[in-house]
């Protein structure tokens, strides 16, 4: 395998910030949108993949090494700069899912270490499980996402969606129930008569 540092064009002793920057520049360059409809799109994808792989390898390597790195990774997605790397990967995962490349998205998503898995990670994981038909698992991840970030409408919509679609079919299938039949008409007339009498106008005098 090629040297991941070479792929990203950084030296071995580059700081985490520099690596992130290099990754982002390259990712922007090879972004699939730039090559949409071009004959070279497959090539661009290949590049993108090698960048992603290189970035992941470096991340994993460094995560294993220093305690200080780990502690900085614990910072939440919104708060610290450390979370930004995860955000880039998550963005990439969304793009892959959008393009229908679910297997790759799954691999990339799982490459994020445990301690960096935020609400969005859980949400995306839930979406992937949904797509595979793993509905029980999907709900679990959506619930975690909602729990970690209670105000997020996207996560709540996903959780509500799975519950709704389970219910909806049963309701439309039995939609013949309800409605108005002859008995309802009679009851309605009787009730109307009662109310009319209150004001002195009797529809059916008796």
């Amino acid at each position: 395998m090629t040297d991941p540092y070479k792929v990203l064009g950084v030296s071995r002793d580059a700081s985490d910030e520099d690596i992130k920057k290099a990754y982002r520049t390259l990712a922007r360059k090879y972004h699939p949108d730039n090559y949409a409809g071009s004959d070279l799109s497959d090539l661009a994808e290949e590049r993108m993949k090698s960048i992603n792989d290189a970035y992941d390898t470096i991340q994993k390597e460094r995560a294993g090494k220093g305690a200080d790195f780990n502690s900085s990774q614990n910072a939440s997605y919104n708060a610290g700069t450390a979370g930004a790397s995860a955000a880039v990967i998550l963005q990439r995962v969304r793009e892959l899912m959008h393009a229908g490349r679910f297997a790759e998205a799954g691999v990339l998503l799982d490459s994020i270490p445990q301690n960096e898995r935020n609400a969005e990670w859980n949400y995306l994981k839930g979406c992937l499980q949904m797509q595979r038909g793993w509905y029980f698992d999907a709900q679990k991840y959506f619930e975690i996402a909602c729990y970690m970030e209670p105000g997020n409408a996207e996560y709540q919509a996903a959780l509500a969606n799975i519950k709704n679609s389970a219910d909806r079919y049963g309701k439309t299938y039995r939609s013949t129930e309800g409605g108005c039949d002859v008995c309802d008409l009679c009851t309605g007339l009787a009730c109307m008569n009662c109310f009319c009498r209150m004001c002195g106008a009797d529809c059916f005098p008796c």
């Binding site: 499980q129 793993w134 999907a138 799975i162």
Partner: protein
């Protein structure tokens, strides 16, 4: 493992229900003729669904005639005339029954195990007979491949119920889609996958408490253990999610069927839709005891035989 899929007679038109009974009766006859009269006693509702899905995709209706049978000699019942789909389902049932018995010999202990051992030569004979009568090329091999990967997962003690259900989903996907072509094969495969997953998950859920007691593999028991909660409280906590997940398997099957090019509302299709929407949910497993469920199944069988509502 089988018997969790049921039709809801209350939600069917009378003629569609008659059709369902005819398929059920026809399958029983086909099993007796193809394999052995004794084998017909293992008749299950699940394989009726296999026939219904395949027939609604191909648009084939099959002929129905009135016939007498040994169990009900006094009345003549609607019964589907033997056709390729019925024979296929009967053969599949024979192969799977043998595999399930083999599986039980591995898992069970004590007298039950002895019982299954005694039964095995018989089921093996049925299975061999079915294979000799002809199944689509490569089907038997891929079925045993999936069963092997399931055994593998069980040995690995897979704690995610959805992951544990995968091989059985693939297995039914193979059975449903065999010998169909193009889009129909894909749709049938998708339906089979969800039906298989539903059956596996429902079965696991049903056995959870017993498996915990006997120390047997069960993904739900392991999932509860992983969260360090006693099984019963974990189950009641997760009840809603489990019910939704099980119902989604039916919904996904329904969605797949809706993609079919052949949108004609045949009786077979009406029955299949009824099963996906009303017959595939976990309510019966979560809310009824085993004894109640057995009684319910008995009444249902009787209803299907007698045609009473």
């Amino acid at each position: 493992m089988f018997g969790y899929i049921r039709v809801s007679a209350d939600d069917l038109k009378v003629r569609d229900y008659r059709y369902y009974r005819a398929v059920y009766c026809g399958l029983c006859r086909s099993m007796a003729r193809e394999i052995s009269p004794l084998f017909a006693l293992t008749l299950r509702f699940d394989f009726v669904l296999l026939i219904l899905v395949r027939m609604s995709l191909t648009g084939e209706r099959g002929a129905i005639e009135k016939k007498r049978c040994i169990i009900h000699p006094l009345h003549r019942h609607p019964s589907m005339t033997d056709n390729e789909e019925l024979r296929y389902a009967a053969r599949c049932a024979a192969v799977l029954t043998d595999e399930v018995v083999a599986d039980h010999i591995q898992d069970e202990k004590g007298w039950k195990r002895v019982g299954y051992r005694v039964l095995r030569p018989l089921t093996r004979r049925w299975s061999n007979k079915a294979k000799k009568k002809g199944l689509p090329a490569g089907l038997v091999e891929s079925v045993s491949e999936q069963l092997e990967s399931q055994a593998c997962l069980e040995q690995k003690k897979e704690p995610v119920p959805d992951a544990a259900a995968e091989p059985f989903g693939r297995l039914l996907s193979l059975l449903f889609s065999a010998d169909l072509n193009g889009e129909n094969a894909r749709i049938a495969g998708e339906i089979g996958k969800h039906v298989g997953r539903f059956i596996y998950l429902t079965d696991a859920l049903d056995d959870a408490e017993e498996d915990e007691k006997n120390g047997k593999y069960n993904p739900f028991v392991l999932a509860a253990e992983e969260e360090k909660k006693p099984l019963s409280s974990w189950l009641s906590e997760q009840k809603d999610s489990i019910l939704t997940a099980l119902q989604m398997e039916g919904v996904s099957s329904m969605r797949a069927l809706e993609l079919s090019e052949n949108q004609e509302k045949t009786p077979a299709r009406a029955c299949a839709e009824n099963i996906f929407v009303c017959g595939m949910h976990g309510d019966s497993v979560l809310h009824m005891t085993r004894k109640e469920r057995k009684a319910e199944k008995r009444t249902m069988r009787k209803r299907i035989h007698d045609g009473s509502v």
